[in-house]
Symmetry: C2
Subunit: 682 residues, 2 copies
């Protein structure tokens, strides 16, 4: 028998749930004093009680009977439009093993959790200590997601046209399509949230965020984002310092500037750095970006060891809900599940997705070319006629380009999602990575097309410098507004009555407040912002050395802004345990390599460097050849550096090897036959 207590860390939500409402647990070890509400399933107001009862019975049924082996509670009453879901101990522990999470063993080391050996893990009796809130909620989500119809059946209370489940159909997806489930989201735990907030953004903990608490409350993806953000902010200190020194302390080669001014070539812009400053900045930037990424990899691997996510076994788990294929026995695990050949996916990625993405990138370039072409045309026309009409026409190319870009972007986003679905990835992480890569490429291209055009086609460095500075400062201001000022206003003025109301009505169902919040939009926008700014810094740093200073300022305001957003302005997101930043890390790494090329090119274009070379007796053609040589050598140096710095600290490597050694030993001491799928034994 489970019952709801009204004390402890279980929050106000629980108070509205009358005692004994929770479904019963099936095994003795799962009986607990109090049940913690983890996830809320939002139904439409029109839902039939019979459908709701069916769904609750499905949630509580054991896995053997095709259920999710969770605990459900019908909210205020049988007719309400919510189901609150929790998970019993056994389900949580089994799912922990399936996920491959590492937990603290009794010798204080991290070990892959084993249900068989569960009693040797610390805190295994207190689920709220053993698993983090984010993990418990994620487990509920995957259990719900993995609900499958065991045979063809009807959904009670739903019209026949929508309500027929085929055998092995995913139930949650079907219910969402049929309109029975409006939403599934994890519930905030107000006390813990306040605790995290207090330690995090209220005290402006920018340089030392409570990462473990963030990981525990919001989960792996969010914690990795903030860890990276903090690491990045620290890493920006040296280039910012160098930028300040180069801009304000180094004389700036005034002699050269005057000389140029006399020649009448460059008088309009003489605040660029000197030749040696250029060189120092470019080489430093190259080294810095390599070290940054390599040390982040080390940091990332120790974080993932600390959070027990180094040995996730997603590829051995059940496929993600959207995965489809011919039903068959998985050759590795021997489970019955949809199968889809790897080579077919590779072909789809290579022969369809890749060219299509290329096509869209081409369309971006086409749009930009069209814009410049149109602008030149209109300007010529205006100069010729000078009428009011032609003056108005001047705005046309800009408007047309904006409309074109917006349409293109929306079409691309739809296409990217459809393509990724069609590629039919088995694992959620693989799906995410492919989707993010597609959107990322396009967004990045869209952001940088203008800058690249100025740098490499127009070859106009002063314009590039101005554009870069204005982008950075404008972006900074907009950012400040949207991420710091607006939330501050919302928090301190607009939401004040709401807050008061909350304090008054402790008894009222607070779930409503959470339901009214918009869903968390994901970290894509945050990451792409970081990446684009990292691009400004690494790709064009030798043009505008103050970039790093502006970025540092930006990050310092970004951290509390983002923290406030995720804590207060949105619903709590589901967050999978992850072992790294996934494709974002690769994106930063690739940018590091591209930056070598772009910096070499910018140096080559720099009039002062050209002058310097000409004085040294190197002809125009040979300068290019020298630049190519330097580029190749720098890339080689970068690769050697990356190879030299191990991607994980020694102590993490040793722990990993210990686990590998142990599993090898374990395999040897067992009768191998016991694991071989029966069908493959002759």
């Amino acid at each position: 028998m489970t019952s709801l207590g009204d004390k402890g860390s279980v929050q106000t939500q629980t108070k509205v749930l009358s005692q004994g409402c929770w479904t019963q647990v099936s095994c003795l070890c799962c009986v607990s004093e109090r049940v913690e509400p983890l996830v809320l399933i939002q139904l439409p107001d029109s839902v039939q009680p019979v459908t709701k009862r069916w769904l609750i019975s499905l949630i509580e049924a054991s896995k053997r009977h095709g259920g999710a082996a969770l605990l459900a509670q019908p909210g205020e009453d049988e007719c309400g439009n919510v189901i609150v879901v929790s998970a019993p101990r056994c389900t949580l522990l089994r799912a922990t093993e399936d996920l491959g999470l590492c937990k603290k063993y009794r010798n204080e080391e991290m070990a892959s959790f084993s249900y068989h050996d569960r009693d040797n893990f610390t805190n295994v009796d207190d689920m709220q200590e053993f698993l983090t809130l984010a993990e418990r909620q994620y487990i509920v989500k995957i259990e719900l997601d993995s609900l499958q119809a065991q045979k063809k059946q009807r959904i009670p209370g739903v019209p026949d046209a929508l309500g027929v489940l085929e055998a092995w159909e995913n139930i949650c997806q079907k219910l969402v399509r049929a309109g029975v489930i409006k939403d599934i989201f994890p519930l905030h735990n107000q006390q813990r949230l306040n605790d995290v907030c207090r330690r995090w953004y209220s005290k402006k903990q920018i340089w030392r965020q409570p990462l473990d608490a963030i990981q525990s409350y919001f989960g792996g993806t969010v914690a990795f984002y903030f860890s990276f953000l903090q690491f990045y902010t620290w890493a920006l200190v040296p280039p910012a310092f160098l930028g300040l020194v180069l801009t304000f302390l180094v004389p700036g080669g005034g002699g050269v500037v005057k000389e140029q001014a006399v020649e009448g070539v460059m008088e309009e812009d003489d605040d660029g750095p000197s030749v040696s400053g250029h060189m120092v900045q470019a080489v430093f930037s190259m080294l810095w970006s390599t070290l940054f990424i390599e040390f982040w990899k080390r940091r990332s691997s120790s974080l993932s060891h600390r959070w027990g996510t180094r040995h996730l076994t997603e590829r051995f788990a059940e496929p993600r809900p959207g995965f489809h294929g011919t039903l068959g026995l998985n050759p590795v695990t021997g489970r019955l599940e949809p199968l889809f050949p790897e080579w077919q996916r590779q072909l789809r990625v290579g022969l369809v997705s890749l060219p299509l993405v290329g096509l869209f990138l081409g369309l971006v370039v086409l749009g930009m070319t069209g814009f410049y072409h149109g602008e030149a045309l209109v300007q010529g026309f205006h100069q010729d006629s000078g009428s009011l009409f032609s003056g108005a026409l001047l705005y046309l190319p800009s408007i047309a380009h904006t409309v074109y870009t917006t349409i293109l972007k929306n079409v691309y986003h739809a296409v990217a999602m459809q393509l990724t679905k069609w590629e039919n990835h088995r694992e959620e992480s693989s799906f995410q990575n492919h989707h993010i890569t597609k959107v990322l490429l396009f967004t990045f291209f869209n952001n940088f097309a203008v800058l690249f055009h100025i740098a490499f086609y127009k070859q106009d460095l002063p314009l590039l410098r101005k554009k870069l500075a204005s982008l950075l400062i404008l972006n900074q201001l907009v950012n400040q507004c949207t991420e710091v000022v607006v939330p501050f206003i919302v928090d301190h003025f607009l939401s004040a009555p709401h807050k008061k109301e909350q304090e008054d009505d402790l008894e009222v169902d607070k779930l409503r407040a959470q339901r009214s919040l918009p869903p968390f939009p994901g970290l894509f926008a945050e990451y792409i912002e970081l990446l684009v700014k990292f691009g400004y810094l690494s790709l064009f740093s030798c043009v505008y050395p103050l970039t790093a200073v502006l970025l540092l300022l930006n990050n310092v305001t970004e951290i509390p802004g983002d923290a406030y957003k995720i804590c207060k302005l949105f619903r709590k997101p589901f967050s999978a345990p992850v072992s790294n930043m996934g494709v974002w890390q690769t994106a930063f790494e690739v940018l590091g390599f591209v930056s070598v090329m772009s910096n070499c090119w910018l140096l080559l274009l720099s009039p002062r460097v050209q002058e310097f070379c000409l004085e040294g007796g190197i002809s125009g053609k040979n300068i290019i050849l020298v630049a190519i040589l330097v580029e190749h050598v720098l890339i080689l140096v970068k690769m050697i550096l990356a190879f030299m710095i191990p991607a994980e600290p020694d102590w993490v490597r040793i722990k990993r090897e210990q686990i590998e050694f142990n599993s090898m030993q374990a395999l040897r001491q067992q009768d191998v036959t016991s694991f071989i799928p029966k069908h493959s034994l002759a």
Copy 2:
């Protein structure tokens, strides 16, 4: 009791070993009808019987007593200067587990061998079926190599100055230094050897060598070399075909040639391909080299699965004999062994080895520059004076350069070996890879410096073409002589009397014949020859399209030549089980990337391409920029292609994942405590 039979596959060597001479086995399961002589330890003639007895007792002692748990036999008599060594079943099986070899399980799948579960593996009772000859011999070698003095002791019969073993000192290395062991080498099995020969080179099986038999008799490294050679030969067919077509069937742009001849620029060399031929050749060569390496990776992984070497556990085994460090508990395996921190090795590689190798490469360049400089000087002097003395002086630069190169090469080889030893690699494979990389870089540089000089500094394509053709054809002829004609003569004429003698004296100790053969020089020379020729093909292919045809011819003669050499002209080498070609594969891969750069450059230099561009209205500076762009795009395409083609076939991936899944399951079903080193349990 073990005894020697005089029938079965055990060869003539056994006949000279009188019955009952073998040391006794300690456990019942190891008793066998006949003992197969595997390895011969050659002692000096002056060896004391007491030393020999001590060594034999050490070899036969159990591991618990600091022995090697092998079988030994004193040869003809107690005073003879050889010890013949074999291995009992238990030692072989335990070592198979330690190596991590996969063997056939009773369900016909390959599974990591487990001593605990040994009875479920097929052929486990017949060591000659279960393990290959090369594996048995390698196991004897590692057991001998791992002999360690358990306490400080004296070697009986050896003067005190040399004969004191420190505690934990490696015994074999000490005995070699003290002159007690002259040599250790594996014995040929004449019947099996004849069998392999018959199926291999006698029938000129160039296109389909008996790879399994080679792997079984000569071991992994040798088998991988020949597998690669065969794969490479097949892969050369398409480029050879294209080369023939481009050379003889495509008109060759005669109009352009004439035009150039009229201009008086290029009349001396008009047999180069046309612009489109150039382009086709360059792009084809780029694609081909990528596909070649990617498909070889797939082939390599399926071979290593077939040969059971996909899950070698070298890093968990004992360190290689030359490894030193402070004695301590290995944190992973919990064994007492020398420890040496990874970061220190990385530092040594990065801060000492890398700059030193760079220095030597610089010296090569310096030598070449000096040579060209000296030659110009001497030629000028000769033209001025025209005396006999100055005529003789003309040879001086050549001679000086040859002497310089030879000295440099010898110094470098010594330095490379010392550096690699000093880097103190724990695993033999890591030692080999680092050593090979060093020598490889130097040899490659030495071979290509002249060609690069001609291509990139002199920018003289006709000279490059001539040089390339002469190198290839000369090399071909020399190769034919040394690898086919000479062995043929040796085999059919010179060794005839020797053979006759062998046939007469079946009873005589045939070990002597094997002792008289020179030791196998290793595969370095063979691999580097392949690599250099692959370099000719991929780096400069667009200059001389017939390269592939010549290489194909070369390989067709190389295979039987190499096969003959290894079968007849040398002692049998020890050959470790390996899962791939190691660093050689990387070398071929890197060359593929370098080839993109060099081909782009060569196209850029090609006078016809330049003319073609000028006609198209592209200026000299822009041609270079286009070339850079093309280079970067081609490298991107190469990387995408390499990413798209999985490095292992689907079926191999599934098998690998099965094993990983099983070992994860095994670990979960065991009490983790049993594997945690006791010292780390609180």
